[in-house]
């Protein structure tokens, strides 16, 4: 991979907007591929970004997905305005979901998103304030040292 300076960008996300849900992650995936990031890193970044993007669409009101790619790592930060997560430890458990029935009928709400983000990330941080919103920081190393 040939990145001298870091490359960054940002996408806007709208809660409830299922029509465009996934376009940010799809674009991020193609940006990373074009930069020559290894296929495995592209895949992990795209999956983590997509799960996080869907969480904003499903659970929050609005948010942003910001990415920075350097020769060392891909860093994806999602910040949303929304209800926040009351018990992060619980939310991280596989199978835990507060998604309403209509979301389950749309193919989401299995409670597998956050654990899968963690699995695909080399570093993962989640901060949340009830009634304000949630921030996720996902870091994936581009080099295997």
């Amino acid at each position: 991979m040939k990145i001298k300076d870091s490359i960054e960008g940002c996408f806007q996300l709208m809660g409830g907007d299922f029509t465009n849900a996934g376009t940010a992650s799809s674009e991020l995936k193609s940006i990373l591929s074009k930069l020559g990031v290894s296929q495995e890193v592209v895949r992990r970044a795209a999956i983590a970004a997509f799960e996080a993007e869907m969480n904003v669409i499903i659970h929050a009101v609005a948010g942003t997905m910001h990415y920075v790619v350097s020769s060392e790592e891909v860093r994806i930060t999602l910040t949303d305005m929304g209800p926040g997560i009351q018990d992060i430890e619980l939310a991280m458990q596989e199978g835990y979901s507060t998604a309403p029935d209509w979301v389950r009928e749309m193919g989401w709400g299995a409670g597998m998103g956050l654990p899968n983000i963690k699995k695909n990330a080399d570093r993962f941080k989640i901060d949340s304030v009830m009634g304000e919103g949630t921030t996720l920081e996902i870091v994936i190393y581009t080099r295997k040292d």
């Binding site: 795209a46 193919g107 709400g109 597998m112 899968n116």
Partner: protein, 116 residues
């Protein structure tokens, strides 16, 4: 297994054919929950689902799934079909239910995706 072979086994129609040669399907993932798809090593897999939402194509794109098989003859919105074309993801439909489709494809030698 090529798409044509799969279409023949499950009595399906190919709605969107992938450009640049038919993908060789090596495994199958049968589910209607997208986060379930995203957990598996789905490269080269066929996604069998009854969920007729564009999100299915997005999920396929993100997880390198080359082909989707819609069961129960579910009607798809134009939007979903167009997205499949744009993302070069093959799309098939069959009137059979997921159980019959899985049974036939399993008997035909295809196996499950492995956990990633």
């Amino acid at each position: 297994m090529k798409l044509n072979d799969i279409a023949e086994i499950v009595d399906g129609h190919i709605i969107v054919n992938s450009t640049g040669g038919s993908p060789d399907i090596v495994s199958v993932c049968s589910t209607d929950l997208m986060s379930d798809v995203l957990r598996f090593a789905t490269k080269g897999a066929l996604l069998v689902t009854a969920l007729n939402q564009s999100q299915v194509i997005r999920t396929a794109e993100i997880s390198d799934i080359p082909a989707v098989l819609m069961v129960m003859g579910k009607k798809m919105e134009r939007e979903m079909i167009e997205l499949a074309m744009e993302k070069n993801i093959a799309l098939m439909v069959t009137h059979l239910p997921a159980f019959t489709v899985c049974g036939m494809l399993y008997a035909g030698g295809l196996r499950s995706c492995l956990e990633d």
